[in-house]
């Protein structure tokens, strides 16, 4: 044992590391295949201490488990914005179905049922005849609301079963936990009677008394489920309502995502296929928490398109898609290019997507530094996360500023004319354009990036031979 500067004891296991010399690059393509997102290769077992006991989790098994994505774009997503029109929702649902692919990786999407528009949307989405995502409902914990579910002929609905004392006592005004539990169980009974599978949303779970309320309640739900046919048995949605969940091994309940899933899955006996994680992004942990839920035994992660949801939003659906492919090592029939189509459509109807937003922001794979542009020019894999042209229809780009240099300008010209391989123009040939760019900043004190339109005009004037030759190929 040795002590660091702060005097903390640390075990030291010195090991000699020898250089493995190479004359050919090892690009680690088993993990970074480029035509797929970088793969998440897991080795186990992983040990988490629960109640003082070491519990093993086999992360490697997730590759073969039937993990899935569910969607709440039209419910939680819509709570964060003015309502979508019926036409907009039907179009988004249609695109989501294409994205999901024949295996139904996006398995379910939930809908409000309260207004005429809600019901018309549901009818029109179902009329499209897609197998996936399956349409499910969302209602309050009121018995009378099952009439809506039955009328809509839905097989499953989410119901609010808030479980922290903040909600039980301060929001719902119950006088005791027992009164609350009994009330929830009455609603679940009503669902069974209506022939509808209840999905109990354990709201504010990451701030709840797990041993004192959550586990006894879920035990009761499992007991009730054993009395009904399998297709009606209760599903559990673990709602991290305020984004308090943490993924770190060793974190304590109620904030520990691994321990919450362990308790529900192995102690209460809720099968993985009936567990769903629903997160919020208040502490920037939303996507990792969802991925963690998959690894520890929860089959569903609940998402919204582009993470748009109440306050800071939910796990982004498109990120879950790439996580899914990275875990499975295969696209599994998912048409990832639809993600770009969805983003374009969302922008067209007024949903703001920041330029630097992963996978779909206008600049997500745009580099500004000249030295990075030089790397892109030599081999786009150097500064591109994966084959973004193939998977998203978005080749890597450079933005033209004072930092672009001749390399950045050259990359822009080649991308603009879609030139590949030996057709690509070298930077010697674009020196006049590179000079024009530099002068904008050095001579004319410009402070903004140069737009594609301005660059296009300069290519026409300063590189007329290439303009004439390749004009028809411009993007």
């Amino acid at each position: 044992m040795s002590k660091d500067k702060e005097g903390t004891s640390r075990s030291v296991l010195r090991k000699k590391h020898l250089l493995v010399d190479a004359t050919r690059p090892n690009l680690l393509e088993d993990t970074f295949p480029y035509e797929l997102p970088p793969l998440i290769r897991l080795e186990g077992p992983v040990v988490e201490y629960v109640d003082g006991e070491p519990i093993e989790f086999d992360f490697g098994a997730v590759k073969d488990r039937d993990i899935l994505i569910s969607d709440t774009t039209f419910r939680d997503g819509q709570q964060a914005r003015p309502p979508y029109t019926v036409d907009q929702m039907v179009h988004i649902y249609d695109l989501m179905s294409r994205l999901s692919g024949p295996n139904g990786v996006i398995r379910q999407s939930e809908f409000f049922l309260y207004t005429k528009n809600d019901r018309e949307t549901l009818d029109r989405c179902r009329a499209l005849g897609h197998d996936y995502p399956e349409c499910t409902g969302w209602i309050r914990a009121f018995k009378g609301d099952f009439r809506l579910v039955k009328e809509a002929k839905l097989k499953e609905t989410g119901i609010l079963t808030s479980c922290s004392d903040y909600h039980i006592f301060h929001k719902l005004k119950f006088h005791s936990r027992k009164e609350c539990l009994d009330s929830y169980c009455e609603i679940v009974d009503a669902a069974f009677e209506a022939g509808v599978r209840p999905r109990c949303h354990l709201e504010d779970l990451t701030r709840a008394d797990i041993d004192g309320f959550v586990l006894p309640f879920v035990d009761k739900l499992m007991e009730m489920s054993r009395q009904v046919p399998e297709e009606l048995s209760v599903k559990i949605r673990l709602c991290d309502t305020l984004g308090f969940g943490v993924s770190y091994p060793g974190a304590e309940l109620p904030r520990s995502v691994p321990k919450l899933i362990y308790k529900l899955n192995r102690e209460c006996g809720v099968p993985s296929e009936r567990l769903e994680w629903h997160g919020h992004n208040d502490f920037h942990k939303v996507h990792v928490n969802a991925g963690t839920a998959w690894l520890y035994g929860c089959d569903f992660v609940n998402t919204t398109l582009f993470g748009f949801g109440e306050r800071t939003g939910n796990p982004p659906l498109e990120s879950a898609i790439f996580e899914y492919i990275a875990i499975k090592g295969d696209v599994c029939g998912i048409d990832t290019q639809v993600i770009t189509e969805l983003a374009d459509y969302m922008r067209s109807i007024g949903l703001p997507i920041p330029d630097n937003y992963p996978f779909v922001g206008r600049s997500f794979n745009t580099t500004r530094a000249g030295i990075h542009a030089d790397g892109l020019r030599r081999d786009e894999r150097i500064y591109n996360i994966f084959d973004t042209e193939k998977l998203l229809g978005r080749p890597p780009r450079v933005a033209i500023t004072d930092k672009s240099g001749a390399d950045g300008v050259t990359h822009w010209v080649n991308e603009f004319f879609s030139l590949k391989g030996s057709d690509r123009i070298n930077k010697i040939k674009v020196h006049k354009l590179a000079r024009w760019v530099i002068d904008q900043y050095d001579e004319h004190d410009r402070l903004t990036a140069i737009s594609d339109q301005e660059m296009k005009q300069q290519v026409k004037e300063l590189l007329p031979e290439y303009w004439e030759k390749y004009e028809g190929r411009q993007k």
Binding site: G370, G405, A406, N426, I428, K429, H431, A434, I438
Partner: protein, 86 residues
């Protein structure tokens, strides 16, 4: 007819805004003559234009000094059948 060295120095002076007398054969384009990144590209482009030759981008940009440039261009002219005064 001017020699390759005289022509290289003339182009260098024009691109970098210097007088020819300031330029010596052992001068580095970047360290001694202050060529910035884009100016290095402009120098190669101007040498191509002056001598009516094509140069490989990476190897031409790797040339560090005026004297080495003279050698490089002389060889390129010979390979491409362009007559020059040595």
């Amino acid at each position: 007819m001017a020699t390759v060295e005289e022509r290289v120095k003339a182009v260098t002076a024009r691109v970098l805004g210097l007088s020819q007398e300031q330029i010596k054969s052992d001068h580095s384009f970047t360290v001694d003559l202050g060529a910035e990144s884009v100016q290095s590209v402009e120098l190669v482009a101007m040498f191509e234009e002056e001598f009516e030759i094509e140069m490989d981008e990476d190897s031409a940009l790797a040339v560090e000094t005026v004297g080495k440039a003279v050698e490089y261009i002389t060889n390129a002219c010979m390979e491409q059948g362009v007559g020059v005064e040595q």
